[in-house]
Amino acid sequence: MTTSPSLVTLLFHAFVFIAAFLGIGSITPCMLGEPTTQGSNRAPTAGANRQGATRDVIDEESLRALASKASQQAATHGSKTQPLDAPRPSTESSLLTSSILISDGDKFTIVPIGSVLHLPTNLRSRVIARPQGDILMWPDFLQKNTAWITAKEVPLPVSRGEMKAPAALIREFSNEVRIVVAVYHGCPITMLEPASNNAPQTPKAADRR
């Protein structure tokens, strides 16, 4: 029987043909296990699309000289500014200090401080101090966690403390076993205390710090 060598030969020739068609001239160790997502290893053609180097990369000494010269010039700009005569303002975003973070253990969401109307004792651990995991924006987070969090639409005058909350509204969430977040047109909103005279209003919700 001499049939099997011909099959092997055919397969080998097929591989060689496919490899040649794809431009695989040789397989070297460096071509194995190379990154495919971060970098691409194009089949290079000698000299193609290359013009050689036009310069050597700069050395540290030359760079320091350039930077020193530029620094001296930049220093003159300070004279065109005004003196700092007030305490430096905060340059950090107030996002975390004006928000309540609610976590489902995997992802968290952000709602305005004062927007949590009802926070059952057994769900207090859902309110976290710092971001943990990835953020999920409010509508997606609500949809994912309807078992333990819900939204309650509130009239704008009520949210602004310009009108007392209807008794029905209060009754509705007082027996709620889920976290209740106040929303206006579906978006979380701070609930303010009714203003007395000209006193500043404050958040009145269950998350008040």
């Binding site: 971060q38 050689g52 310069r55 107030s94």
Partner: protein, 362 residues
């Protein structure tokens, strides 16, 4: 109180590429008098935004926040707009040689990038301030500061890295151009600078308006790439097969093409040699036009073993091995990271096998 319906223009088009279907951003509206906060999920990539909440005569602050893309789960303040009777405006423009921008450069908060050996320019433009002597600090000037943050030099990550204050000034009305300047990161060498410098303009708190960030762009600074080759040094003479060598290339710019080439003769700048198969690396959409998505936004480190250098140096003689990188800098022309000139002299090898390894006297 006469409520106003406000339409603002926030642009997320470049900030959130290919993530339009996911709610990754929200606008936070803060009433300046009461402090009432209203969060509106923002799903449309760019275009006008109409607040469903009326704005009182006391004004409101609108902030656009967005999650980073892909693995970046940080939340970024992309833009701030104050709807207020009085208010200065500030624009900070960063000019680098790399066209990359993350976010909306027309807005106040975006990220640009450059390389640690390249200069860049910052232009501050402030208007809307008053100069009368009885004006408050908030009316006469805005606060401007520059902060630096070093990234982790191994992972290139900014996670939990502290910042340091470089400069702080008050600015009046007008335009100032700062630069060209080089980075001021606290790095072992200027060339190894790896981090970011953030430029912030803040309106001082006054009349119920808290300290408000008017603009906060950032420039990322990536180290200059380096290249090393082991088991081969300049001037070395090979009398036998050249062993497997390893190219160690570090900090390859996220928008770059890097490769090794070899040619006969001593080193000549600008000479085009034979590209050594398997050494070419391309990063970024410019060098990968068919990929669709930019595959990386941080530098890359690679090690490449090549076992057939002798195939490129078959005849006896002098050869030069070079590593060249192309980046947005210098109009994408090549910069030579490394050059090694060596000699192949196999005749000595065969003679040495017969008698001694010494060259015959001239």
């Amino acid at each position: 109180m006469k409520p106003l319906q406000i339409t603002l223009w926030f642009c997320l088009l470049s900030a959130l590429p290919l993530r339009a279907a996911v709610t990754d951003a929200f606008v936070r509206q803060t009433d300046l008098k009461t402090g009432q906060v209203y969060d509106i999920p923002y799903t449309t990539p760019g275009g006008p935004y109409t607040s469903p909440l009326p704005v009182s005569e006391d004004g409101a602050k609108f902030e656009l926040f967005a999650r980073g893309t892909a693995w970046d789960t940080n939340i970024y303040l992309l833009d701030t707009k104050l709807i207020y009777a009085y208010g200065p405006t500030a624009r900070l423009s960063i000019t680098t040689e790399d066209p990359y921008v993350f976010g909306d450069s027309a807005g106040g908060t975006y990220v640009k990038r450059t390389r640690s050996d390249r200069p860049f320019t910052i232009t501050t433009t402030v208007s809307g301030l008053v100069s009368s002597s009885d004006a408050s600090a908030a009316e006469k000037s805005v606060y401007y500061e520059v902060r630096a943050m070093n990234y982790d030099p191994v992972t290139y990550s900014s996670l939990n890295m502290p910042t340091s204050l470089l400069h702080a000034y008050n600015l009046g009305n007008g335009e100032l151009t700062w630069g060209p300047v080089y980075h001021e990161l606290a790095s072992p060498t200027l060339m190894s600078g790896c981090g970011q410098q953030t430029y912030t303009c803040v309106q001082y708190a006054a009349d119920n308006v808290p300290d408000t960030i008017l603009a906060q762009p950032t420039v990322q600074i990536w180290p200059v790439a380096t290249a090393n080759i082991d088991k081969i040094t300049s001037g070395q003479v090979f009398i036998d097969r050249i062993p497997t060598i390893t190219f160690a290339m570090a900090h390859l710019y996220p928008d770059s093409r890097t490769y090794a080439q070899i040619y006969p003769g001593p080193a000549v700048l600008g000479k085009v040699g034979t590209l050594i198969t398997g050494t070419e690396r391309r990063y970024g959409s410019y060098y990968n036009p068919n990929q669709g998505v930019t595959p990386t936004n941080v530098p890359q480190d690679v090690q490449i073993a090549i076992d057939n250098i002798s195939a490129y140096a078959s005849a006896d003689g002098i050869y030069t091995l070079e590593v060249i990188t192309e980046t947005p800098f210098f109009n994408r022309t090549g910069e030579r990271l490394l050059k090694i000139t060596f000699e192949v002299d196999r005749v000595i090898s065969s003679r040495g096998a017969l008698s001694t390894g010494e060259k015959p006297a001239q």
